[in-house]
Amino acid sequence: MTDSKYFTTTKKGEIFELKAELNSDKKEKKKEAVKKVIASMTVGKDVSALFPDVVNCMQTDNLELKKLVYLYLMNYAKSQPDMAIMAVNTFVKDCEDPNPLIRALAVRTMGCIRVDKITEYLCEPLRKCLKDEDPYVRKTAAVCVAKLHDINAQLVEDQGFLDTLKDLISDSNPMVVANAVAALSEIAESHPNSNLLDLNPQTINKLLTALNECTEWGQIFILDCLANYMPCDDRESQSICERVTPRLSHANSAVVLSAVKVLMKFMEMLPKDLDYYGTLLKKLAPPLVTLLSAEAELQYVALRNINLIVQKRPEILKHEMKVFFVKYNDPIYVKLEKLDIMIRLASQANIAQVLAELKEYATEVDVDFVRKAVRAIGRCAIKVEQSAERCVSTLLDLIQTKVNYVVQEAIVVIKDIFRKYPNKYESVIATLCENLDSLDEPEARAAMIWIVGEYAERIDNADELLESFLEGFHDESAQVQLQLLTAIVKLFLKKPTETQELVQQVLSLATQDSDNPDLRDRGYIYWRLLSTDPVAAKEVVLAEKPLISEETDLIEPTLLEELICHIGTLASVYHKPPSAFVEGSRGVQHKRLPARAVITLVKRTGLSGSNMGAGLGVAPAAMPASLGGAPAVGGGLGDLFDLGGGVGMPTGSYVAPKTVWLLAIKAKGLEISGTFARRGGIIQMDLSLTNKAMSVMTDFAVQFNRNSFGLAPAGPMQVLTPLSPNQTIDVSLPLSMSGPVMKMEPLNNLQVAVKNNIDVFYFSCQYPLSLLFVEDGRFYRQVFLATWKDIPNDSEAQFQIKDIHLNSDVASNKLQGSNIFTIAKRTVEGQDMLYQSIKLTNGIWVLAEMRIQTGNPNYTCTVPRIVYASLLHSQ
């Protein structure tokens, strides 16, 4: 018997005929009719008119027929809610059936009938099924809670199903546990702040036990749920990692990737010097490589994920370059991804092999792939300096092939190579010029024009070449026009005598005949520069350009962290956060990696702050709690912003108003108030001493207790005249950083002893950490990104500064006054991101990222990363 015949009935009176058959007395005929109905439904015909007739067939003891009717119900119940009620009785009855398969079938189907009226009737049977003696029914009921929640969340809460579901996490059957976890995770996603999935060490332990016993799919649900857990310390995270690693040998790639996600996340918490940390890193590589022998579609998912992993932890796969070599028969999507990873893994050690491969790829058929391969050669040149020469000669070989798009792509990347290594490879310019005519893509034309302009003095016929482009000036794209304008101005500045006419021509084309404002503006600026001060023009136009960095296409660090938390999912395939492609409340939550354990941080600081080392060694565990816990710094930053009158004076750091440190009643009439300031690189303690006693005070002296940063008075306190009653004098006490070091709690606490002719008085005060920010705290721009990338694992703290009504430029200016330097700024999705560096007096560097959302009144969300980089200090 074949069923395909059901697909072929296309007569007009079909519905009518079916109706008759459905109401037939013969069971076989009925079944046949229902099959026909389902077939029509599949191909998209509307058979909803048959609803009552089909529902009539529901009460049968033939399970196959029953399933078919259920299938029909799931499809059409929503469009016929009133009639769907007719089915309820049968469902309720089936939920009591002695056969567990039928009970489960009923509860499974009921959840799929999305009719509000039905859900009320569903509650009782569902409650029974959740406590059914048969695990098959329980696991089906667990999923049904999620279905019901999707239809009517309130009902689920009111009926207490969530608690029952939580109980199922402790069920004896692993599959019930897995489905309960899946259902709870889904429900929790739509209630971001609820404590639904109350994960604690006990439940985690249950999940880990079930992990060893359930189906492959159940393992995925459990691992994905585990990934949302935050272990309380590094020991717990190690023990979870140990129990998850065996999953890396599972045949199911999704189990492997979900296990990788858990490990990548929890690894963040492990101290780097732990033996286990190294072992774990080694264990991750082989399963990742194995994923590449899976089917092509899975390889694609794996490669997109490996791309993230390589950016986050390059050390894992650095020796595995060869497995990413492209195979001739790989689907194009696999090829392109492999190429991306190859470039990321390219290093001095393997560059020869990589280049040989890339050259091979550049002769393939697929245009996109070939272009990407050519571009990759350029990126290798920029990334690995030693290979630059070989890359350039490879590119020249490719240009000789005269394949149009290869030539154009090669020229675009050679431009970048010139930028990176100025005055090194000009010998190739002649070859490039030969191919001028074949360039028809704007990017390639613009690149070529840039090269001609940049090296105009060495190209004999530069003027002719540029002139030839000028002929069709208005037909060029804006990119080419702008480049041409600049190139001709450069040429003019280099060879003023022969090119006067040319420059006039281009300036008038740009300013008078163009309606592109960018082009006009640039034209006018050049024109005025040239006409008023040619020397200045030379300085501006021919200025030395900043070097370009190799890592231009890295994923922004915070996004990368979020994506690492989504390994294996669609987000990791798209390289976009879920909020970018998921509607509604799901996916709005941003996931973050956990912070590394406190103890490591101390070890690293201990290394870096040489004059601090001893002091920190004494009390390592407590130290970073306050320094790493950014509030100390954060509060300081907030103060810096609050400075009301400072808008016009960007230089000079913020000085807090004086506060009373020592009360007169506690010090026999001596009242001291004070503050700290940093002036011209010198830290000063400004004190006001007031005599509230009856007698004259003389012989003032001051001393500091040992403190976290070794602050000490640089000289004696200068109180020259005796202090008469009711008199106040102001004293400035310069401080040095050469005092003995001892960790204080809080970190910026300072204990001071003041002596006069009457007695010795003690008080403590707290200095703002910004006091310790030194003037040469500007981190090397080129190293910043690399360092930043190196460290995110170490320590990170986040805090918000509220109510700052400044835009990013003003803020950055203001912070610079306090020696917080903005190294780079970029704008992502309306947010300004400032990357900043601070250097402390003891040589510790702090790198921070600040996000400022324009127009947000409350407004700054600051995400600084506090990082202790020994890197530069030790050099």
């Binding site: 099959k35 499974r108 999707d150 060893n212 189906t215 045949a251």
Partner: protein, 441 residues
């Protein structure tokens, strides 16, 4: 989770459509047809996002399977599920073709209802499914209560892949070590990359719930035993344990029946096998691979309209062994007008439709060599683009494992029934096949 699952024929007509989630509408079916199946250009990604809906697809012959979702699902899981779905369907009705799908659409709906609940994959082991979803209607009515609960406990149980009460008169098992050896070689004969991906496929016909232990010449295990100096080396007594040397396995993955935590801690492979045929493990090796053949190409361009190609193949294994089904595929340029071939052994033919000379040799012993030479006439073209020179590829089958893997033992313990390890008849076979075996020219 998965919101819906569609199966299309090559024209884009829907054969099966099952929607699990309310956020997936009927228009999703059309969106995929229009944007992916009917799209002219080559498919650039197996994951497509159309109007905030994500489509995952795989193809089996000319059938498209697509899973649809609007959420941030586990992408790896969706693909694994689609493959599994294909496995299940093949296990039920053989080849996945339009004909077979139409003939079994009721069954497919029934399966989809069972193995995917609200988009969450459920137990999809065919062994278990076949106990209660059958092609010939449902047994349901005639089952006893015990049978029913046995089914449900098996479907949800810890050993979901095997049912209780299996009995064989003769307890027998077959082990196939199937390896595919992959090579990419430069024209100069330098190995650019080589690896073996192997599978151990087991056919078990064993009674009861047997506990099995599998051993091979894994370097880590052998080294450990060597150090310990144990006397009762199980390798001596068991199947084919003649090879002394051990191999380094880069990585391996196991069927879900294998206790992974035990492998992780002791590196021992123990399990209760499914009944019948299944894949016990997969592994990958890269060190000390025996490359069964070496291809030495020589391509010479004689003027603009002629190519001379000479290819030598050398077999590199014991002379007593025979390689079979040898095929060498030498690509020819697109503007080839004629080809003359001379080969010492086998048959060679120019296949214009495939742009290649295909040279077939039925059998070849180890340590031999053979040669083919061809003259290729070309039509003059003014196409500037050079011929990409695709690599020469090779296919073959050899009766040994190129990785050097040897099965040392497979022990069977069944305490409840009265048969012992010695009563089980065991067979081992090694087959090495070419995977992607390419030499650039």
């Amino acid at each position: 989770m998965i919101g819906g699952l569609f199966i299309y024929n090559h024209k884009g007509e829907v054969l099966i459509s099952r929607v699990y989630r309310d956020d997936i509408g009927r228009n999703a079916v059309d969106a995929f047809r229009v944007n992916v199946i009917h799209a002219r250009q080559q498919v650039r990604s197996p994951v497509t996002n159309i109007a905030r809906t994500s489509f995952f697809h795989i193809k089996r012959s000319n059938i498209w399977l697509a899973a649809v979702t609007k959420q941030n699902v586990n992408a790896a899981m969706v693909f694994e599920f689609l493959y599994k779905m294909c496995d299940v369907m093949s296990a039920y009705f053989g080849k996945i073709s339009e004909e077979n799908i139409k003939n079994n659409f009721v069954l497919i709906y029934e399966l989809l209802d069972e193995i995917l609940d609200f988009g969450y994959p459920q137990n999809s082991e065919t062994g278990a499914l076949k106990t209660f979803i059958t092609q010939q209607g449902i047994k349901g009515q005639h089952q006893t209560k015990e049978e029913q609960s046995q089914i449900t406990s098996q479907v949800t149980g810890q050993i979901g892949w095997r049912r209780e009460g299996i009995k064989y008169r003769r307890n027998e098992l077959f082990l196939d070590v199937l390896e595919s050896v992959n090579l990419l070689m430069s024209p100069q004969g330098q190995v650019l990359s080589a690896h073996v991906s192997g599978r151990v496929v087991m056919k078990s016909y064993l009674s009861g719930m047997p506990e099995c232990k599998f051993g091979m010449n894994d370097k880590i295990v052998i080294d450990k035993q060597g150090k310990g100096g144990t006397t009762d080396d199980p390798g001596k007594s068991e199947l084919g344990g003649s090879g002394k040397q051990s191999i380094a396995i880069d990585d391996c993955t196991f069927h879900q029946c294998v206790r992974l935590s035990k492998f992780d801690s002791e590196r021992s492979i123990s399990f209760i096998p499914p009944d019948g045929e299944y894949e016990l493990m997969r592994y990958r090796t890269t060190k000390d691979i025996i490359l069964p053949f070496r291809v030495i190409p020589l391509v010479r361009e004689v003027g603009r309209t002629k190519l001379e190609v000479k290819v030598v193949i050398k077999s590199n294994f014991k002379p007593s062994l025979l390689a079979q089904k040898i095929e060498v595929r030498i690509p020819t340029p697109l503007n080839t007008s004629g080809v003359q071939v001379i080969c010492m052994k086998g048959k060679a033919k120019y296949k214009a439709s495939e742009n290649a000379i295909v040279w077939k040799i039925k059998r070849m012993a180890g340590m031999k060599e053979s040669q083919i030479s061809a003259e290729i006439e070309l039509l003059p073209t003014n196409d500037k683009k050079k011929w990409a020179r695709p690599p020469i590829s090779m296919n073959f089958e050899v009766p040994f494992a190129p990785s050097g893997l040897k099965v040392r033992y497979l022990k069977v313990f069944e305490s409840k029934l009265n048969y012992s390890d010695h009563d089980v008849i065991k067979w081992v076979r090694y087959i090495g096949r070419s995977g992607i075996y390419e030499t650039r020219c």
